[in-house]
């Protein structure tokens, strides 16, 4: 697959790239890049390969069957650490979107909540442990769900049951009473509401305003072997994200996403929430925002590491900043963004999350250990 043309110094080492994605509204940047042939300018051609699970995305990145993928932020970090599965050195080339996820509760639970009861009371009174689903053990949805529950005084690992259900099966599980709520991407909340089995109660952009969500992920050795390809791919996806910032373009994107080879659900279910409206407060789905979305902040990666520590997925005394620095390809991103005239921030990010606790990435271990609700210590 080496078709590097040495006469062009910047030509990518590899020209046809196999990209994986999971059918969700926020895979839009990949779909747009492929539909509009945005890679052509940079000498690459994108092939899209839909994946049935995040485990499949992970395995195919590791085996080399995929060159890169639309992936949950936390999936990349989980693989780097080998949490519950195979370990491999991984890379985040850029962030693909902020916000745009949500938590939906069963109709019954949402009604009780709306009548003034707190979720904590409802959890305590339930005759059996309430069951909440997310999408991958180390993934973003698990972390948003856990954070949101803990912010209400509910321990996500002991007070409720946490399971994984593939998003397209969430509605059915809610309707069957097997599930009391779920955190996932869109359009699956819109689908649950349209089917009358659940109500979206919180936008992820209210849990952590402008939280990082999906990233462009690949193996670390892909970056070292094909640095010009990795840069060309980053530039292509930056163009796609910039294109998606124009609201009228999202009408087209919603149509492409709804096709049977992608999400396979009505455009009317996808478009409203792709445009940012779920009727709830919180920062809306963003793909670009003048590049503010896309810089692979190490502080974002460190937040996931802090939460892995908080929930007992990561024990011991690993050098967390070194892990984030190895994964997040800030130098490569800087080159790609600068070449496109996109501003690159100088500093890491600071944020305040839904519980009023601020996160500034300076001491992720102390941050993790400062939460009253966290995984129990070993004896």
């Amino acid at each position: 697959m080496h078709d590097h043309n040495p006469s062009i110094p910047d030509a990518p080492e590899k020209t046809v790239l196999r990209l994986g994605y999971v059918p969700l509204s926020d895979c839009a940047p990949l779909v747009v890049a492929q539909r509009l042939g945005l890679g052509e300018r940079y000498g690459i051609e994108i092939e899209l390969h839909r994946q049935p699970s995040w485990a499949a995305v992970r395995d195919k990145l590791i085996s080399g069957e995929l060159d890169a993928a639309h992936a949950l932020y936390g999936l990349v970090y989980g693989v780097e650490l080998g949490l519950g599965g195979p370990q491999a050195p991984m890379a985040v080339l850029m962030t693909l979107n902020h916000n745009g996820q949500a938590i939906t509760l069963s109709d019954r639970l949402a009604r009780q909540l709306a009548s003034g009861r707190t979720l904590r009371e409802l959890v305590a009174e339930a005759p059996r442990p309430l069951v909440f689903a997310q999408t991958f053990p180390t993934g973003t949805h698990a972390m948003w769900l856990y954070y949101w529950l803990a912010a209400q005084g509910i321990h996500p690992l002991t007070d409720v049951k946490s399971v994984v259900i593939p998003p397209p099966q969430m509605s059915e599980a809610l309707a069957a009473g097997l599930l009391d709520g779920f955190c996932a991407g869109e359009p699956w909340h819109a689908v649950a509401e349209a089917e009358g089995v659940g109500r979206t109660v919180v936008a992820s952009g209210a849990i952590w305003p402008d939280h990082p969500e999906k990233v462009l992920a690949c193996r670390r050795d892909f970056v070292t072997r094909y640095p010009r390809t990795a840069r060309a791919l980053t530039m292509t996806l930056l163009d796609a994200c910039r294109w998606l910032d124009e609201p009228t373009h999202r009408f087209d994107a919603a149509g492409w996403l709804s096709g049977p080879t992608c999400i396979g659900r009505a455009r009317s279910l996808i478009l409203p929430r792709l445009l940012g409206g779920n009727g709830l407060p919180g920062a809306p789905l963003r793909f670009f925002d003048d590049g503010a979305v896309n810089y692979p902040y190490r502080s974002d990666g460190l937040w996931f590491l802090s939460q892995y520590r908080r929930w007992g997925l990561l024990r011991g005394s690993a050098d967390l900043p070194a892990i984030a620095a190895a994964i997040n390809q800030t130098a490569l991103y800087r080159e790609a963004a600068t070449a496109l005239g996109i501003a690159v921030p100088d500093d890491e990010r600071s944020c305040v999350l839904i519980d009023g606790v601020s996160w500034n990435s300076r001491d992720p271990v102390a941050y993790a250990d400062s939460f009253a609700l966290r995984a129990l210590e070993l004896a």
Binding site: P52, S53, S63, G84, G85, F136, P166
Partner: protein
């Protein structure tokens, strides 16, 4: 007898394995076609092995069970298009539990199930060893703290403090760490 759960939710004919598995002396306890049914079957029937297609959407459900450990992780054998034995061995080596080739017959499957189980037992042993080491470290810390308290409050040397703890443990028929824990709790209580 090994109890097997089949996850049959893709177009690969995993269901047809039932007879082959029975012929090889395994018991297929259930066949499920979605994540909710899979969760229920794992919880209620505790299979020894789960067989699932690599392209099954239910794979992430099993990932969560493995990470959380609350429904003890169990070997998962996957069904793939890989025809290349080396590729299968590489995948197994990388930690993806096990793979099966396309045309599945019981005699091809049996060794893979055995390998998956052996691997699982090895991992369980390693995890237990790690947990034991952490336990020992935690106990060592307790004993050190108790020794420090005795040295402080009773003016004992370190050796004398340890001797005292050891004798007390023998008298009570308890572990030294337990006596240390009681002592620390008592001192905390008395201030």
């Amino acid at each position: 007898m090994l109890r097997i759960l089949l996850v049959n939710d893709t177009d690969k004919p995993i269901g047809t394995l039932r007879d082959a598995l029975a012929g090889a002396g395994y018991t297929v306890i259930a066949e499920v076609d979605g994540a909710a049914a899979l969760l229920r079957a794992v919880e209620e029937q505790r299979p020894d092995v789960v067989i699932i297609d690599t392209e099954s959407p239910s794979r992430d459900t099993l990932e969560q069970l493995a990470v959380m450990g609350h429904a003890a992780p169990r070997p998962v054998v996957m069904f793939a298009d890989q025809r290349e034995p080396q590729a299968i061995r590489d995948a197994v080596g990388a930690g993806v539990t096990a793979y099966v080739v396309d045309e599945v017959t019981a005699d091809r499957l049996a060794p893979i199930i055995e390998v998956a189980l052996a691997r699982f037992e090895e991992e369980t042993r390693l995890r237990k060893r790690l947990a034991d080491a952490e336990q020992r470290l935690a106990e060592r810390k307790l004993i050190d703290r108790a020794k420090g308290l005795l040295m402080d409050k009773r003016g004992l040397s370190e050796t004398e403090a340890y001797e005292l703890l050891r004798r007390q443990a023998m008298r009570q028929g308890e572990r030294i760490a337990e006596v240390a824990r009681q002592l620390i709790a008592m001192v905390d209580l008395l201030g």
